[in-house]
């Protein structure tokens, strides 16, 4: 059975669809790499920037590599390059 997950969009990533998007994910979860593909497919205005190699995934307040897994209930977010303070 699929479950959904909200992915927060930080900084300029929120310009197209607002501050978060919702995805259906399988019971087994998905990798960060798969998350990027799923977001790009469901929210195509984000596809070019996600393909640019500068976006990082954050899961439960930790910036994670592309092979990290995301499960239902995790706090997932996508970070563009930071502006600094």
């Amino acid at each position: 059975m699929n479950k959904s997950i909200d992915v927060e969009l930080c900084g300029k990533l929120a310009d197209s669809y607002g501050g978060s998007v919702t995805l259906d994910i399988s019971q087994d979860g998905l990798s960060v790499r798969e998350l990027f593909a799923a977001v790009s497919s469901a929210y195509p205005l984000l596809a070019p920037v996600l393909a640019g190699g500068r976006i990082r995934a954050c899961v439960n307040e930790v910036i994670v590599p592309d092979d990290a897994m995301i499960h239902h209930g995790d706090a997932a977010a996508l970070f563009p390059p930071v502006s600094g303070g």
Binding site: G11, F79, V82
Partner: protein
């Protein structure tokens, strides 16, 4: 490590921050502080109505704490104070306050400079300037990056 690191959602008074900092240190001979304020004009001269800083949960605070910890590891300072605003900031309001203390001035000056260079490039914030014709996302400038690079040769 005697440090206080905080993200504030509302306006703060740098003078009160400095008084608080001085109140929790000992008899160190040097205290250096820096206040960064929101500018009223963009680089192209356009009037800025507000600067908006976004942070992300505990990640932003953790990035600031790491920078403060690095400053304590790198310089012989005894205490530090790092306050950063988030949210909508009007021109002339304080964005950031940094203070350092040490027995002698050089370390306090250098640590404050280092803290600001790292905060300006690495702290987890996203900021945009709001002006009459819309808003513009801001990224660190080349000057910000080269300022931060000054310290990298001697980073452990």
């Amino acid at each position: 490590m005697n440090t206080h690191v905080e993200v504030k959602q509302t306006a703060f008074d740098p003078s009160a921050c400095l008084a608080e900092f001085v109140g929790r240190i000992g008899d160190e001979g040097a205290v250096v502080s820096f206040t960064g304020r929101a500018r009223g004009h963009a680089k192209d001269g356009a009037l800025i109505e507000a600067l908006v800083l976004e942070s992300y949960r505990g990640v932003t605070l953790a990035s600031m704490r790491q920078i403060a910890a690095d400053a304590h590891a790198k310089f012989p300072i005894t205490a530090s104070h790092v306050i950063h605003r988030t949210g909508r900031i009007a021109p002339e309001e304080a964005i950031v306050f940094v203070a350092t203390a040490s027995p002698h001035r050089r370390a306090a000056f250098e640590a404050a400079d280092y803290l600001m260079d790292r905060l300006k490039t690495e702290a987890v914030f996203w900021k945009r300037e709001e002006h009459a014709s819309g808003s513009t996302w801001i990224e660190p400038t080349d000057a910000d990056r080269s300022d931060a690079m000054r310290w990298s040769n001697s980073l452990s």
